[in-house]
């Protein structure tokens, strides 16, 4: 195909502003899906995506689009909006020449709009602002357009007004894409350089690489070299997502598609690697990507009645599909053998845990997530620690450092006071304020990461009447007065419950935690003493009285089935417990640390 007729672009936006719905409309207009096949957010094809109504994984699709009598090839990538999956956006942008920046006309520019727009600018992409949801009565399309110009410095000249729901404005949008987004550069005759911008595991085909050919031509049957890994493969299948996988013979410079080459495991490909011809390799690889950073860590232990082997197999199986989490064996004194896992964020952690249970049928006990701390030992060595349990003896520690983030919050101006208060509670440091309009501001703060990890977003939502949005990135480490807070059950410290926190918060934290823990742990036959301690100093204590009676009074002929089922449920509930000493601790208790502070 004539390269001037190709357009490669991503659809980016704040969460829920309508990217996937816009993709639906483009697919529909191209005729790639029939009316019958059409369902909302057709590219969100994972069960979890459909259930949660969000995009988790970027999807690429190729369509033939008619515009003013000519046929164009659109390669579009629908991206996720959630902050955990920023790296997916970054990867997608590197494979594109342009981007549609979608903004919800009822919401205006939001925190992830800013973050994603900057990412597109950073990749030198041409951007078309798309103001969406203009069908809604509360839409303020002109205001949104002004904000884009004002806040992001993106010219509103080519702004498009659409309703992805009703289809209004889609024809004009297509025309704008043809007119304002550049066709791909690159030379089909040059040595092959194709960027692997994503990969996916398929039970039948093995690894499927999503590729964007930058230079040269990729052919079926070609012997290729992955330049980073220095491994060669034979291309057994090439094709395009239309949106079903549709094989083709070749992908030329400027085109996007997939490659299958009997690659067994996701671990064998690095996303960002360059594919070149094994016999006539390109002189240099493409720039590639930074590997995604694991922001939070937690441990998974097999729940009572599950085996360690089953957990290991399940993690291995999941990692075939999701190369963005890490796992390494870990041993807890209280919980036995398990895995330390690293995630892109809390949502990602939730998703992995849910998939373990749903797709692999393994229930796990999960510890509270932690960020990575830096420990400088007295002898000068630097260590990274992802959980309080791994901290070396305090006597050996010279300095503890915590990760810092820069956060941008967009909020109605009348909530500034509330936000300042919240920031103070969370040890935040104010950086600057920019007015998006007289009513809305963009605030920049620095926070210790651990202060915003759990409930910050919910808090922000509640103090801004739901209008506030946030985005953040890690900017470095800072020495801080951190302590290890130990939790003791019947006098015995439980490593999986200990946590690292700022000294000024330890006492309050410990007290609140014990109160919550007391509610989570059922009464036992004996009294249970709960204590919080820093070193050898007990800073809080609670106790759980023993229970006396748990017996079903009546069980006659008509009750047998129901009573049996109740007991079976009680037994199931026990499965989600871990026995520490002789105390049964429910899975939830390990996560209790997370719950809101106040």
């Amino acid at each position: 195909m004539d390269r001037s007729k190709i357009r490669n672009f991503s659809i980016i936006a704040h969460i829920d502003h309508g990217k996937s719905t816009l993709a639906d409309r483009l697919l529909q207009r191209s005729g790639a899906v029939s009316e019958r096949e059409l369902k909302a957010q057709i590219l969100d094809d994972m069960d979890l995506e459909r259930e949660r109504g969000i995009t988790i994984k970027a999807s690429a699709v190729t369509v033939d689009m008619e515009c003013d009598g000519e046929t164009y090839m659109f390669n579009l990538i629908d991206t996720p909006g959630h902050v955990d999956f920023h790296y997916e956006v970054d990867r997608a942008l590197a494979a594109c020449d342009g981007a549609l920046l979608v903004v919800d006309a009822t919401q205006g520019v939001q925190a992830q709009t800013v973050a994603n727009a900057y990412a597109a600018v950073g990749n030198n992409l041409e951007i078309i602002p798309v103001i969406n949801k203009i069908d809604l009565p509360s839409a303020a399309p002109e205001d949104a357009a002004l904000e884009i110009e004002h806040v992001l410095g993106i010219s509103a000249d080519h702004v498009q007004f659409v309703s992805a729901k009703s289809g209004v404005g889609i024809d004009d949008l297509v025309r704008a894409i043809v007119k304002h987004l550049p066709p791909p550069k690159g030379d089909p005759a040059a040595p092959l350089q194709a960027l692997i911008f994503d990969s996916e595991y398929n039970d039948y085909r093995g690894v499927i690489c999503y590729v964007r050919v930058m230079n040269g031509t990729l052919r079926k049957g070609q012997k290729v070299l992955l330049m980073g890994r220095q491994r060669t493969y034979l291309v057994t299948e090439l094709g395009k997502f239309r949106p079903q996988m549709t094989p083709c013979e070749a992908l030329a410079a400027g085109e996007t598609g997939y490659l299958v080459a009997s690659i067994k495991s996701l671990q064998d490909v690095t996303v960002g690697d360059t594919v070149t011809d094994a016999l006539h390799p390109a002189a240099a690889a493409l720039p590639g990507y930074q590997p995604p950073q694991h922001m939070v860590f937690c441990d998974f232990y097999p729940a009572t009645g599950e085996s360690f082997d089953a957990l290991r197999d399940a993690l291995q199986r999941l990692s075939l599909n999701d190369a963005s989490f890490s796992f390494a064996p870990q041993h807890s004194e209280a919980l036995g053998p398990g895995y330390r896992c690293g995630f892109l964020g809390l949502l990602h952690m939730d998703i992995v845990q849910e998939r373990l249970e749903r797709e692999c049928g393994v229930s796990v006990v999960q510890t509270a997530p932690s960020v990575t701390y830096e420990v400088v030992l007295r002898d000068g060595t630097l260590r990274h620690v992802e959980s309080a349990g791994d901290l070396p003896d305090m006597g050996h520690i010279e300095e503890l450092r915590e990760p810092l983030i820069e956060m941008q919050v967009i909020t109605p101006a009348d909530s500034i006071g509330n936000i300042m208060q919240l920031a103070e509670q969370r040890r935040g440091e104010y950086r600057k304020t920019e007015y998006l309009s007289p009513q809305r501001v963009l605030l920049t703060y620095e926070f210790p990461f651990n202060e915003i990890l759990y409930d910050f977003y919910d808090k922000l939502k509640s103090i801004t009447r739901g209008y506030g949005t946030m985005d953040y990135r890690v900017i470095g480490y800072r020495a801080s007065d951190l302590v290890k807070l130990d939790i003791l059950i019947n006098g015995k410290p439980v490593d999986a419950l200990s946590l690292i926190c700022h000294r000024s918060k330890a006492e309050h934290r410990g007290r609140r935690f014990l109160i919550k823990l007391r509610k989570e742990i059922d009464r036992h036959q004996f009294e249970i003493r709960l204590q919080a301690a820093i070193g050898s100093k007990i800073i809080a204590a609670e106790s759980i009285k023993p229970f006396r009676k748990d017996v079903t009074a009546k069980c006659y002929g008509g009750d047998v089935t129901r009573k049996r089922k109740l007991l079976e449920k009680q037994k199931e509930g026990k499965k989600r417990m871990k026995t520490v000493g002789s105390v049964d601790i429910p899975q939830k208790a390990f996560m209790t640390v997370l719950e809101p502070e106040d």
């Binding site: 009676k549 017996v551 009074a553 008509g558 009573k563 007991l567």
Partner: protein
């Protein structure tokens, strides 16, 4: 040749007024519903008797309150049931009654039909507690009803009592137990008050209009019953039941041994040929189904042998005698001490269970915490 059915339960779904804690299927008594119900019960019975031999040696008519039925209809029902008694056996034939529903005419009808055991819902002898439980009778009426039964020749009596009632003290519980014993029943059932889902009592608690009795007091009351009744010659034989030795309720023992029985009537369950079934819990629907010649069943459950064995273990653990190892091994081909080895080890260590040559049973502490133990057996 199918083996004869030996046990029968019949559910009469009427009460004069409905008690707030009760979750049995029952509706307020309506005279126009009586004849159709009795017709349907008899039709259901006939259908069974056409299909297989019935030779009952335990019969139990419960509810609801069977003695709300007018004497003639009551007699029509009981006489029909009595026809299927085993002539060669020492039959136990129980009818449930509430104080003040049992008139001399009804008592005479019971006696004429061969009923020999009456289970009376006394619940408490304290007016305040009876009110909390929505029971409309006065304490004295229990003694009157007992006297009336004895006069009619119904000498085997059981009294139901409830502890753990909001506001009940250990003293008032002791008074009720003493008042019950003064009437010299051969059998007593003492139930800890249970907040069943969907009952008015539970709604009142959830709305904060009623404060449940604390756990410690209830445990003390339970233990007091074990001691006081044993001292009075009626030792505990099941988690909630006490009797003079040899006077245990044979019908109920069948449930706890997970033995077959036939169930008739709306909401009644039965257990025949390894199938546990349950009839629809709606009188009109039940009558209509039976009339139309169809089935009134709404649930059926067949368990794989191992799960059935586990269910039996759970039920037999309710008995003070516990699981009889030899009998269990004969029925299910496995010694319970092996089948439940982990659970047994755990709970014997905690002092909740004991095992010897003959059986596996709860200890006294274990009886207070029975659910914890049983959850590891199901």
């Amino acid at each position: 040749m199918t083996t004869p059915v030996r046990a029968l339960y019949v559910h009469v779904p009427f009460c004069r007024t409905l008690c707030g804690y009760c979750d049995f299927y029952s509706t307020r008594f309506r005279s126009d519903r009586v004849a159709p119900l009795v017709d349907a019960l008899l039709a259901e019975l006939r259908r069974w008797s056409d299909a297989r031999p019935l030779r009952f040696d335990t019969l139990f008519v419960g509810g609801g309150t069977p003695t709300t039925l007018p004497a003639d209809e009551l007699e029509r029902l009981l006489a029909a049931l009595a026809a299927f008694r085993d002539p060669a056996a020492d039959v136990e034939f129980t009818v449930e009654a509430n104080p003040a529903t049992l008139t001399p005419a009804r008592a005479a009808a019971l006696a004429r039909c061969g009923v020999n055991r009456v289970s009376l819902g006394a619940q408490s002898f304290e007016p305040r507690e009876l009110r909390v439980l929505d029971r409309r009778h006065r304490p004295e009426q229990v003694a009157e009803t007992v006297a009336l039964c004895r006069a009619a020749g119904l000498t085997r009596l059981s009294l139901d009592l409830i502890f753990g009632v909001p506001g009940q003290t250990c003293e008032s519980w002791a008074r009720s137990l003493a008042a019950a014993l003064a009437l010299d029943p051969e059998h007593l059932s003492c139930y800890g008050l249970t907040y069943e889902e969907g009952t008015p009592l539970t709604a009142r608690r959830d709305a904060g209009r009623l404060r449940p009795l604390d756990d410690d007091t209830e445990a003390e009351q339970y233990e007091y019953a074990m001691d006081a009744l044993a001292a009075a010659g009626r030792p505990q034989y099941e988690l909630s039941n006490y009797a003079r030795p040899g006077r245990e309720c044979r019908h109920n023992l069948r449930y706890w041994h997970n033995e077959p029985y036939l169930g008739l009537g709306p909401s009644a369950a039965g257990f025949i040929d390894e199938v546990r079934y349950k009839n629809v819990a709606d009188t009109a629907a039940y009558v209509a189904a039976i009339r139309a010649g169809g089935s009134a069943r709404v649930e059926e459950e067949t368990l794989p042998p191992e799960r059935r064995a586990r269910e039996t273990a759970m039920l037999e653990l309710r008995l003070v005698a516990g699981i009889d190892r030899r009998r269990f091994a004969e029925r299910y081909g496995a010694d319970p001490a092996d089948l439940f080895a982990t659970a047994i080890a755990r709970h014997t260590a905690a002092g909740l269970l004991e095992v010897d040559e003959r059986g596996v049973r709860l200890t006294r502490t274990g009886r207070l915490l029975a659910n914890r133990v049983m959850a590891d057996f199901v």
